[in-house]
């Protein structure tokens, strides 16, 4: 492999156009935040039944994808695969950017975002949220140091141990995110230890899909060369990760289906849940998993870039559907207050809760994505994150010449 040169993004005035567009989206998102916080959450689709809504779907997606985006760097540092080394800087940058976007959404949806300082000064160490505050800030710090080690020639020798630390940290981080649901005893759809590893594998898949799209986008934008060698490796990796997520989804539902206690919630998600059932089967399983697998492995699509782009887009779409089903579906199914009894009350006991997200909630989520993209665009413009070329002749050890 030849020496890799890294260069700042060199896209002329279109850089400012991109900043302006992303900035405008973020401003619209902030407008939505002001609207929701000024009036209170009654202007949203969320209520006392569906307490976490669309902002949380976006936020958790971004946070999960953030830890997954770091994998590309980890494969280079931790598993010593040379081909991934030139991809590592963007991987670290994307990880920080996605996490920042996700956290922004999460924080701006709080009932009292003005009290963020309270969350930083009062800690209850039994709360997974508290662990996550440390895991998220720690992740930012460690990945920041990791980037420094990679980008500073003199510190290069430390990049492997810091890479190990970052890899371990990201596994713990996603375990923490999955445990937000895994440790909830109250609700039928949650309270399962498998949530944590399932979220880890989900992060592999969503994070890599996001990475592929950002990498291809930036290289196309800056007209840099991106060879098939890199893309084919990433394509195969994505296929394995998608299959991994499917496996965990299968085990999760099989476990629940075995226990009579959980038949109700399983019937709800898999058969009777209306929008949730449709999202699960059509979007998460078919469009978000099986179709991408076909796009990745079917001989007719081999080596075709558009199939990889489409597969990545569909994986992200499926990921959103999956989180929507887990988050909203899990809350929509009524709490089992009195097993064996049919329950009715004035507080929506015993009935399936409806949820229709409003524009402002979705806008806040989209602004989170825009924040991530803006950070990536800006950082790769001012610092040397991107290799000058990822052409086969540069990265493929077996390439001729």
């Amino acid at each position: 492999m030849k020496n890799i040169r890294y260069l700042e993004l060199n896209v002329g005035m279109s850089f400012y156009t991109a900043l302006a567009v992303l900035g405008a989206i973020i401003l619209m998102g902030l407008g939505s935040v002001y609207h929701m916080e000024h009036n209170g959450h009654w202007v949203t689709g969320m209520d006392n039944q569906i307490v976490w809504g669309m902002p949380h779907v976006f936020a958790i997606f971004l946070i999960v994808a953030a830890s997954g985006a770091l994998n590309v760097a980890s494969i280079g540092s931790v598993f010593g695969k040379k081909m991934y080394k030139p991809l590592a800087r963007l991987s670290g940058l994307l990880a920080i950017a996605l996490l920042a976007g996700g956290l922004a959404v999460l924080v701006l949806d709080l009932g009292r975002p003005d009290r963020l300082i309270v969350a930083m000064t009062h800690f209850n160490f039994k709360s997974i949220f508290t662990w996550n505050i440390f895991l998220y800030t720690g992740f930012m710090g460690i990945v920041g140091v990791y980037l420094w080690m990679m980008m500073d020639r003199q510190m290069n020798k430390f990049s492997t141990p810091v890479g190990f630390l970052a890899f371990g940290w990201r596994l713990i981080l996603t375990t923490g995110t999955g445990s937000i649901f895994g440790f909830l005893v109250a609700r039928q759809a949650y309270d399962a230890a498998i949530m944590a590893p399932m979220f880890v594998v989900m992060s592999f898949s969503f994070g890599l899909a996001a990475y592929i799209l950002v990498l291809m986008g930036l290289f196309a934008w800056d007209k840099r060369e991106l060879g098939d060698y890199v893309l084919n490796r990433l394509r195969k990796l994505l296929g394995i990760f998608i299959a991994g997520v499917l496996y965990f989804v299968l085990v999760y539902h099989l476990t629940n289906l075995y226990a009579t206690e959980h038949h109700g919630v399983e019937a709800f998600i898999l058969r009777d849940g209306g929008v949730f059932t449709n999202l699960f089967w059509w979007v998460q399983i078919l469009i978000g998993s099986l179709v991408p697998l076909a796009l990745i492995y079917a001989p007719m699509f081999q080596g075709k870039r558009c199939s990889l782009i489409l597969a990545s887009v569909l994986v992200i779409l499926g990921g959103f559907a999956q989180l929507y089903v887990i988050l909203i579906g899990g809350q929509a199914y009524p709490l089992q207050l009195f097993p064996g009894y049919a329950v009715t009350s004035s507080f929506a006991d015993g009935i399936v809760n409806g949820y229709s997200p409003t524009f402002h909630e979705v806008m806040l989520g989209i602004a989170g994505i825009a924040i991530s993209l803006l950070l990536v665009t800006f950082a790769s413009r001012v610092l040397r994150f991107l290799p000058e070329s990822l052409a086969d002749s540069v990265v493929d050890p077996h390439a001729k010449g």
Binding site: D47, G111, V118, S127, L335, F338, S346, F347, D349
Partner: protein
């Protein structure tokens, strides 16, 4: 016994006689008052020697009567939202109707914060705003609640509400405002003043006496005697939370 301990002894003597008083008092024919505590001195912190609880006798709880809910609204002033949809409105206490799926038998009961010994809301709260007082009352400290709603996700009893809009005209003893989570306080302001809860009082005044409030740790209290003598149930006992609110007749 040294002399310094004398006032303490007097206090203990008073407390036990207070407990005897509390065990049961016939005010008028048919109206028996149970489980009212003596007031704790204002400058003393609450202790874990006391565990406040309620026993709800569902056989005495009348179908269609929601006096406890009305009393709670009036006492705490929580049903005054103007914008929130029905599913967004606060409900600190609600009447739940249960129908046995196998037999069709139907009865109703009030449901509110169960004041768990191991409250999941307090476990998950990132700032410690959800907490359990030494005397077993589970509260939200709105001063440090950031409105993340994780406690609402964690509560098996759906006992918490989120305030979805700006609130005005709060009652001086019950501050509430937009963006925080709230729930039954077991009328902590009344309990600290030595009174019973508003729901228990309203139920007694309505002549049902389905709600018995008192100190579960005091073997002489009516509630402790009753739970020792009769079979009572914890809702979702499988979760092992040991709620301070118990039911009989479910």
């Amino acid at each position: 016994m040294s002399n310094e301990q004398q006032p303490d002894l007097a206090r203990r003597d008073f407390m036990s006689s207070g407990a005897q008083l509390a065990a049961g008092l016939t005010l008028a024919p048919g109206v028996v008052l149970y489980g009212v505590a003596q007031a704790k001195p204002d400058d003393q912190p609450v202790t874990d020697k006391v565990r406040w609880g309620m026993l709800i006798d569902t056989t005495k709880c009348a179908d269609g009567c929601d006096d406890c809910v009305t009393a709670c609204k009036t006492e705490q002033g929580w049903d005054n939202q103007t914008h929130a949809r029905a599913t967004q409105s606060a409900q600190w206490i609600r009447k739940v109707t249960l129908r046995d799926k196998a037999t069709g038998h139907q009865h109703s009961l009030p449901m509110m914060c169960q004041h768990c010994e191991n409250p999941p809301c307090a476990d998950v709260c990132p700032t410690g705003a959800s907490f359990k007082r030494a005397d077993g009352i589970v509260l939200v400290d709105r001063h440090i609640c950031i409105g993340c709603r994780y406690c609402m996700m964690a509560c098996p009893y759906k006992a918490r509400s989120f305030v979805h809009e700006t609130i005005t005209d709060q009652l001086p003893h019950m501050p509430r405002g937009k963006g925080c989570v709230e729930g039954c306080t077991m009328c902590v302001h009344r309990v600290d003043a030595g009174q019973t809860t508003a729901c228990a009082e309203a139920c007694a005044k309505a002549g049902h006496n389905a709600i018995l409030f008192g100190d579960l740790n005091d073997p002489k209290s009516a509630i402790a005697k009753t739970v020792a003598k009769y079979a009572t149930t914890q809702v979702r006992a499988d979760l092992g939370l040991n709620p301070g609110v118990r039911y009989s007749g479910i």
